[in-house]
Symmetry: C2
Subunit: 332 residues, 2 copies
DNA sequence: AGCCTGTCAGAAATCGATTTCAGGAGCAAG
DNA sequence: CTTGCTCCTGAAATCGATTTCTGACAGGCT
């Protein structure tokens, strides 16, 4: 592995001059030429570890997410990666499995690896990014806010998304609309449930006492379990709002297994159904622009890395209702 | 940020002693105590960059994959991450988008960041890991072999998977079985197609000239396009083998859009259908144990990092046919 | 007592880049 | 001709850990 000293020796200059050439500082044209030539013949690549040690900041940003197998987060990851790589940063993806300890571990590593910044999709409301902020590192929260600290955040309009989904079902003629959302510790889950409740409250025609709100974990299994329970009720609902994409998948599985069509039992999903093999599903979906969330978070992070100061900014991104085409034959 | 010098000063010892304590070398009990205490009061965390520079090897391994949004690779990623983190390594996930230049870029970074090793799912057969190997870095290929070099690799038995899928359709009574596999440059795609062709050749009863082999990109769009074309043929097949999970999703979408059930037109998929909302699909699937691939690759990598020498090992993992339960009502 | 061995701890070198500092050359103005 | 300035360049310090080298000291043996 050639070092800057080897290049300097071959080019007949000092290492300082080589460094200057590499970093585009003023150097006489002839030395510049001999340095670049020497670098090429030696196939020299600067050692990023040494550079990071000296500069005290690496050209790496971390993206910390709770579930790498959820398309919601991988799509987000692509967005972050796009903007970051555009600006010359590498993105390292860290999967916490929703485990706060693992998350803390990754944040510690980001700190001691001198990473330039972190985009954090917090596992819980107790997530602590303060040590990073104290050291002046850039931090952006995404999907869920980081508590307390004045950190930039990019979040979905979850209440609005809950409203859209619920109203879509109401407009389709369903009258006993349940909701399966995520754990009550997760603010996004709670907010989506609030949106659902708001709509039902506003619609005076809604029969009282028809408010079935179920909390599942935000996974397929959770959706299945709660959905199955709803169907067992003595006086079951006639439609359901699924709090996220995976819960939606689980709920749909149950319905399909029992041969219940979306026309009989309404279902609307907050978040995009991943890799749906059935485009005729007739399921209204609140599309969440995850990739945009990612690029936005990336952009905010880059601004912070470039020295932007000031209080935490908050970008709220709305969901977008997508109702299925009424006639399946019209789909191409 | 406290450094080792701060700890040394507070503990009244030399930095060398602090380092020894931190790395579990023999030190007198009293100094050991004062060092650990000083470290705690200063909330000291070793700077990994400095350590990496001196040690010439970081505690980070890279996982380079072509498509982070494909569940096949995210599941693989979990496997790698599990084993690596178990051994104290952080995993950085790099998405190449199937772009050889991006891949090369990531490999260069792995080199200049002094990463301990790389698990590489190559984007193309031209992928070059030689610079890493020349520098003694650990490299393991996964999903597809890396050409030339004697690198460890963990791959699916793709021919066998193709055979399983094809035979499942034949056994179900289909007689004109087409195949939509991936690009002809991708060896996994070609091998799955070969398995399909083998079975058809072996079955003497198969009508000659009935070998529809289509190449798609390994994405949903590719599966849709080729599937639609197959159905337009003057003398269309009556079943199809989908070369990977996403092609399978695309093909199923077309079938569902046209109201064709898997009973009328057979389909078998190589790879697991992601997040299927329809568990009653009656689609035979060749399950590919991706997570196991990941853990295996991780284990091989760790052995190499720990100094294992010798020629490239090759682990071939078989797929496993999973046929749907005949009676949907039996599913719970 | 004298010698040898082994253990522990500090001083200093080291990893490979960047950056500060200081000096020398060249040029313009006084 | 001198002063003052800019522009290049190299020597050396620096980032923060690890590791080698060296010396001090204790204990065992003849």
């Amino acid at each position: 592995m050639a070092t800057i000293y080897d290049v300097a020796a071959l080019a007949g200059v000092s290492p300082a001059t080589v460094s200057r050439v590499l970093n585009g500082r003023a150097v006489s044209p002839d030395k510049e030429r001999s340095v670049t030539e020497a670098a090429r013949t030696l196939n020299y690549t600067p050692n990023r570890v040494a550079r990071t040690l000296r500069r005290q900041l690496s050209e790496v940003v971390a993206l910390v997410i709770p579930d790498i197998e959820n398309p919601f987060f991988t799509s987000l990851a692509r967005g972050v990666a796009d903007t970051a790589q555009e600006a010359g940063y590498s993105v390292v993806l860290c999967n916490t499995d929703g485990d706060v300890d693992k998350e803390q571990h990754f944040l510690d590593i980001a700190l001691s690896e001198n990473m330039a910044g972190v985009v954090l999709a917090p596992a819980a409301s107790t997530s602590v990014a303060q040590p990073l902020l104290d050291r002046g590192r850039a931090v952006v929260a995404v999907d869920r806010p980081v508590p307390g600290a004045n950190v930039d955040s990019v979040v979905i309009d979850n209440v609005g998304a809950g409203r859209l989904a619920t109203r879509a079902l109401w407009d389709a003629g369903f009258r006993k609309i349940a909701c399966i959302t995520g754990p009550s510790e997760i603010v996004t889950a709670v907010d989506r449930g609030r949106g659902w409740a708001q709509v039902l409250d506003e619609i005076s025609a809604a029969p009282p006492g028809m408010h079935f709100l179920a909390h599942a974990d935000f996974r397929v299994g959770g959706g299945r379990a709660r959905m199955a329970e709803l169907l067992e009720l003595a006086s079951p609902p006639d439609a359901v709002v699924a709090g996220n994409n995976l819960v939606g998948v689980g709920a749909l599985q149950i319905l399909n297994e029992r041969g219940i069509s979306p026309a009989e039992f309404g279902i609307a999903v907050i978040g995009d159904l991943p890799f749906s093999a059935h485009s005729e599903d007739a399921v209204p979906v609140v599309h969440l622009p995850t990739r945009t969330m990612g690029t936005t978070a990336g952009a905010l992070l880059l601004e912070r890395i470039d020295g932007h100061q000031g209080p935490g900014r908050r970008v709220v991104i709305p969901g977008e209702l997508r109702t299925p085409v009424p006639d399946p034959a019209a789909a191409r």
